[in-house]
């Protein structure tokens, strides 16, 4: 298994910095090695605003140490676009330079047609499963299989299930209907936490995965291996599919660009 990651820590405009910091500190305390700060973009009322992601170095001069390890936590940025109309997908394509500044890009499709588009053509890393209301459409095998083939992952958030019993019902029923189609492949579980107390430890969430119909191994992979694969997918989307150039700055003498072995895993199918 790889490092544990929680790819969804919600950053709403009214979230102050202190709350975000305490959320991340709590995640580090619980044993997550990677967190992603999520920016949600909703196109309702044409308030299109895919802003620059929060600056991680500004938020934390030195990130907190992960519990039980000697390494600091890794903080990433993520963009979630709520797509309720086909026109919004165009925005997603046009805003390519915007999305580029984010490590992970996710969409939440509202209709079956948009779900299919998201699975088959959109250049994204994650597809969110709606957990706060009844799934308005059925998951279809061709679109889900297409997404799995392309290395796109499905995300289930668990903190709405902690807050409210109706949402708990929707979370479990939507998760189960997805599991029937995808057979436990390409699933990521994340928190979508707004408050520190809504976070849970990774091993607890692996247990919750059993309730969603995952097997023991799948449930743990949903927090570790799959997250790693999604991050790598995001990396290839951000730069290029085949080659990644990194520039090492060693004093003034310029070192030659190095093709890291990451490039070999460009298409995260095998991960």
């Amino acid at each position: 298994m790889a490092l544990f990651a929680d790819l969804n820590i919600v950053n709403t405009p009214d979230t102050d910095r202190k709350r975000l910091q305490s959320l991340i500190e709590n995640a580090a305390h619980l044993g997550y090695s990677t967190v992603a700060i999520n920016h949600v973009a909703e196109f309702q009322g044409k308030k299109q605003e895919i802003a620059k992601p929060i600056s991680v170095t500004e938020l934390y001069p030195s990130p907190p140490i992960v519990q039980g390890k000697s390494k600091p936590i890794k903080i990433l940025t993520r963009l979630t676009v709520i797509v309720s109309d086909a026109a919004h997908c165009n925005d997603l394509r046009i805003t390519s330079p915007h999305t580029r500044s984010y490590d992970i890009v996710a969409v939440l499709p509202k209709t079956e047609k948009l779900f299919h588009v998201a699975c088959m053509t959109l250049d994204i890393d994650l597809i969110c499963i709606n957990v706060i209301e009844k799934q308005p459409y059925h998951f279809r095998r061709p679109s889900v299989n297409g997404a799995i083939e392309r290395g796109i992952y499905f995300e289930l958030a668990y903190s709405p299930a902690i807050k409210d019993s109706t949402m708990r019902r929707y979370t479990i029923s939507n998760a189960l209907s997805l599991m029937q189609i995808c057979k436990g492949k390409n699933i990521i579980m994340s928190s979508a936490a707004e408050r520190p107390l809504e976070l849970r430890g990774p091993y607890d969430i692996a247990n919750l995965g059993l309730l969603f119909g995952l097997t023991e191994g799948d449930a743990k992979a949903a927090l570790s291996t799959n997250c790693r694969a999604a991050l790598l997918h995001g990396e290839t989307r951000k730069t290029a599919l085949g080659v990644i150039y990194t520039v090492k700055k060693v004093s003034a003498t310029e070192e030659k660009d190095e093709g890291t072995p990451l490039s070999k895993r460009a298409k995260t199918k095998s991960d």
Partner: protein, 361 residues
Amino acid sequence: MMQNLEKCARHLLVSEKSNLRNIKSRHRKHVESHHYNYQVSILIPECGLMPPGVTAVCRTLGDYYLVKQLQLHEMLEPEFINKFVRKGFLYVLSYNTRIDQDNCIALLPTGKLILSIDKDTYEELGLEGQPSMYSHRTAVRYNVTVHLRDATFVPGDKRYNRVMWALKEKKPLTFDFLMTWHPSDGEEASLKSYFMDYECKLYQPKLSTRILNNIDCPVLLSKELKGKDDESCSSQEFLEWLGAVSSDIDCNNQADNFLSTYCCPWPSTVLDKACLCTVSGFIIPEGINLIMDQLRLYFEEPKLAQWVSMTVHGFADSPVSWGESEHGYHKGGENLYNFVLFRNQDYWLHMAVGTHSGCPP
């Protein structure tokens, strides 16, 4: 789908009984093959004071070192190998690394260096290894074994150069290491003086003793491992009871809102006193064998107690458990064994592992 929820994760418990005087008894071997031990707890019933012999051994279990930010290739230097690895038993384990998340390193006293590393590191190192037995769908963890004690493993040898190059230039790995060394002959060399350049701290195992009063205790018959109806308890029931005792859970149940359904296995007697002694640290098997010898001596004189028990817990994050069998962490990485020594030199041995571990010998 729902049967998944009712299923329990895999776990194993091996129980056997034998006699300490038996020539073929393998109790010493079992102790020696469990290399990394974190905690030893000893329970002596009907005893208000720890026997001085046992306490003395527990106090001199041997110090261990924590070396910080040590480069892995330092352990491959010929000087280090000649000074420590070949001349004694060196136990090394990486500290603060999780076996299911990070790279973990262990050096066995047999001179085997085991690297349990993730996919990225494995591919960058370019050393030959096997995928871990407990990976899911695709392999994300690999085990690399290097024999340091091999006569041919010297500078100039092709394999040596390859390993050295990989760890020195290709992918330098640094870890915090727990180390302890048990010299095989009287030669003196100190790990501390060898690692002068690094931050190296000396630790001693922590000893704590607790006296328990008036506890219920199951009746054991050394010949009956499975227990006899209304005469003795089975070894599994005993092990469960032992866990409750060492975590300070009493079984005086009261029928109120916080009902505990745990009760002492039947038949039971009431112990006036019992002595529970816990030693925790990086403990080597040689030390545990010494403790065991002292516990054997306990029954030289007539005593009130019928048996004494010793439980040894291994590290949850060590790459190996018994011998060289791979060890993993699913939802708990427990690996432990327990000896119950009886007055007539019979003993019971329990060996238990969690989900991701090979079967104990």
